[in-house]
Assembly symmetry: C2
Homo-oligomer: 531 residues x 2
């Protein structure tokens, strides 16, 4: 496959370039010295001129050969498999419990799931009063497998944080972890079958919010007879869910732990997730989401994960871990992975690209962008939901008159660059004015942030809840100012039971991934807070 | 085109999904409450169940429609243009002077250019002694058009920094700016014709270094009769070149100005450039570099620029400028650009994707990654060059026995994740140990960095040169610790004439782009230093 491609490329190149003459630009010899008189004559190359052979060999791309080989293998699987389930992987891994809720779920942006599954796993024992339950929320791409179980002995993603005497102490607590809706590890997501027409949702899956995920989780709690959580605990996206659970169901949540998360996504994190989504959308195999049964967009998915991996660690950690070392210093430089940090990203992409559904990444990543616990967003959402609930059945989203979902048309010129610093005497709303900071914008890196009034109002419902907020100074995806913002907004809303801790760069250089790695710095705080 | 695509997608979806039944997982009803008894019944959707229509409408992708339309237009141009020059844009813009050097240039990694062009522009007047010359180096994608000229009145990329009384004072100095080799604005690059076979280089262009670019520039200086520069000045990649010019030609460079640059690329910046290159490599239209005369990889190029744009500004600036505002808050959320920051990135990608040669981006970006002024790299390069210069003509790179360029094969498992903090008692070289920092690694964010001994040795040749080093605290691509490292290494090498300034976040939130925007903070320092 690869050699065919190269051959075809070269043949094409010849066809085109022998006829494509480039006009020679005039050489302006307006200076005194003859050309190149000082130039060292390193080469014996004059003898080779106009030999017909190129000056240099073509670069090889073994990394592209490998991708093409994988595409070909997946395509062959698609054409030969007798069960017609297609070449894409079965994303669900390991044994979970599954709860099917057959009551419809109305979503925040108007979509609906007529029924849905929630895959979940549990550890510890529920007490008779059902008062010792901890709901553990996951990051974007994690499954419910936070810890090994008898049915699935593989280590979970928080293996060292759950167990007797650990951060989530299974001698005391009954821990539940779910796969979020929108995901692909057993809960209903874009790869699931729409019960109304028997086909995969694909990009007919509705836009989700973090709150939608939480509402689905609380259906599971209803099913399990759990009225009140001892605590809602999560990191990263899970830390968003943890706060959202308290805001949506304040009477049903005791304590809240939010680690390396935020109360509203900021534009840098939106930008980093946006380019990941674009990497998937750009892959021709993505086919606007309808790739099930065909070759999945593994190339775009791999790049998306490589970009994500950059945001999960920190520059200083990589400086220490990889520096400028190359995978093989004896080889000439390559455009395929070459520096150690590149092979690290490549490896991260390889591991992920067939184990998570690309459409799930799109929907769950978008839900993170949409996350905003500010009061204005809460009110707008409540108004949308109320309006939707009053509609007659005929106005379902299938109604062509309401099918404008995601048809946003952009302005031709959304932004013009501002070529210089704004004049302090003429404030320009589209550029920052260094001398007069926006009073509703937090002071990002220095001192105590000033949270926006809208966020303080939005978090007022949590003013009596004990909340633990953890941040990590080396986190670039959820920077430490965001956790300071959560803590400050809660305190400004009247909450006197907020604990906020920030791990310094001396304590952790692992950036956003610290919550997966630092058993003592993160786990110890959680254990102390939960009691 | 777009509507055809949608139709075809839906047809495909039907073909596949009606036969792809998903096995229903067993529902474990091991709890006491009946399902969903507490769930609000928002929907009247039961009436719609099994109606045959999907639960939700398909998401629309106007951003993909636009890309497909552009591809189709470019393809049509390819098939109908009579001059056979193909649909790709003519990247060169505006009138420049061009110097053609017909003496071969041996490159640091073994490649060669048998001849090459340098496009350049000048401002001010050279004095009789030719002692007032400033060589201005560009960032990655800039042309030689730093300032308007009579031949090209368009504003240049440093328009407000060049002129009478400005940072580069044309009353005093003769300013030269070139397009780098590897670029596409008039200097020889991958889109140029290889004189040996009359075809475009494409990815038969040799791997470049920053030093190769500088050597080519000094051939131009030879041509112009300039023996010694008053100053070498540059920002970003130009700041790398500025230092490299001093190291390569210490006797020919008077003063050095290096702004928002570094003396060795660090892994985070390599990672960010790597994923940009992957976005291009992944585009099927890239065709391993042989796209001239065909549709160029505009989709991958656009994504590459979107990623790059993230690194050019700062999160805090975007927080102030965009916040969480959406392009049209009245529309439902979209996977195409939706938040203002997404439309900003989209716009940046749109402006760039047909104005710069994707192959140039690959080569010039890679040259930035390879940049390392440490002594070990200088010695290894010198050894390679010496060995190459001694080879007989028959051992040119066209020799199949030496055609291993960029054929690096990766280890199967380059890295295993380290699942937890290393035990301080058992140091692990692949993970940082928070309690015992590597003594040769700079303290990234706090206090004075300790530069590596290798870098101090590598910069010793500059120990007598006046050097101005400028950094910006909000820069995430060339973080401020890198400029501190340059200044500290120079001082440790014995240089007592180093000026180092760092613009705080209060002074500039514009991140890496500050050098293009801050006439006073950046330009003022440069003017003062040059005298």
């Amino acid at each position: 496959m690869a050699s065919q491609r190269v051959t075809s490329t070269l043949r094409h190149a010849k066809t085109v370039f022998t006829t494509a003459a480039v006009p020679r630009r005039p050489v302006h010899l307006h200076a005194v010295k003859p050309a190149c008189t000082n130039a060292a004559r390193y080469l014996h190359g004059q003898a080779a001129r106009r030999s017909g052979a190129p000056s240099n060999p073509a670069i090889k791309f073994p990394c592209l050969d490998a991708l093409e080989t994988r595409s070909a293998t997946l395509e062959q699987q698609a054409s030969t498999r007798s069960d017609k389930s297609g070449p894409e992987p079965s994303y669900t891994v390991g044994a979970t419990q599954t709860y099917r809720c057959q009551d419809p779920l109305l979503l925040d942006h108007g979509g609906q799931l007529h029924e849905f599954d929630i895959a979940y796993e549990t550890w510890g024992q529920m007490n008779a009063a059902r008062s010792n339950v901890i709901l553990l929320h996951t990051g974007l791409s994690a499954s419910s497998h936070a810890h090994s179980t008898p049915e699935n002995p593989q280590p979970g993603w928080w293996e060292k944080f759950i167990g007797p005497g650990l951060a989530l102490d299974t001698n005391k607590y009954f821990v539940i972890c779910t796969n979020v809706i929108g995901g692909c590890y057993g809960s209903t997501g874009p790869s699931s079958i729409d019960p109304l027409d028997g086909q995969r949702y694909a990009t007919r899956f509705p836009i989700l919010t973090i709150q939608d995920m939480v509402r689905a989780q609380f259906r599971l709690l209803d099913h399990l007879g759990v009225e009140t959580l001892h605590a809602s605990v999560g990191s990263s996206m899970g830390g968003m869910q943890s706060l959202a659970a308290g805001v949506e169901f304040p009477a049903r949540v005791g304590r809240i732990v939010s680690i390396s998360a935020c109360a509203r996504s900021h534009p840098y994190s939106i930008a980093m997730r946006y380019v990941q989504r674009r990497a998937i959308l750009n892959d021709p195999n993505w086919n606007r989401g309808f790739y099930y049964g065909r070759v999945p967009p593994h190339v775009g998915m791999k790049l998306a994960r490589e970009i994500a991996t950059i945001t999960y660690r920190s520059g200083p950690e990589w400086e220490q871990r990889f520096g400028r070392r190359r995978a093989d210093g004896s080889k000439p430089p390559a455009l395929c992975p070459d520096f150690l940090v590149e092979t690290y990203l490549d490896h991260a992409g390889e591991k992920f690209c067939l184990t998570y559904d690309p459409n799930s990444l799109l929907y769950v990543s978008k839900a993170m962008d949409l996350f905003d616990l500010g009061r204005a967003n809460q009110l707008a959402t409540a108004a949308r939901r109320a309006e939707r609930a009053l509609l007659p059945p005929s106005s379902s989203p299938n109604d062509p008159s309401s099918s404008g979902t995601c048809s946003l048309t952009l302005p031709d010129k959304p932004y013009e660059e501002q070529p210089q610093q704004p004049d302090p005497t003429t404030p320009n709303p589209t550029t920052p004015n260094p001398t007069t900071p926006n009073p509703t914008t937090p002071d990002m890196n220095l001192g105590t942030p000033t949270p926006p009034a809208d966020l303080i109002a939005g978090l007022r419902v949590l003013r009596s809840h004990p909340v633990l907020v953890l941040g990590v100074a080396s986190d670039i995806l959820f920077p430490a100012w965001q956790q300071r913002e959560v803590a400050s907004a809660l305190r400004a809303a009247g909450n006197a039971r907020v604990e906020h801790h920030e791990l310094s760069e001396v304590q952790s250089l692992f950036g956003h991934d610290t919550f997966l790695l630092d058993v003592e710095g993160v786990g110890g705080q959680v254990r102390g807070f939960l009691g």
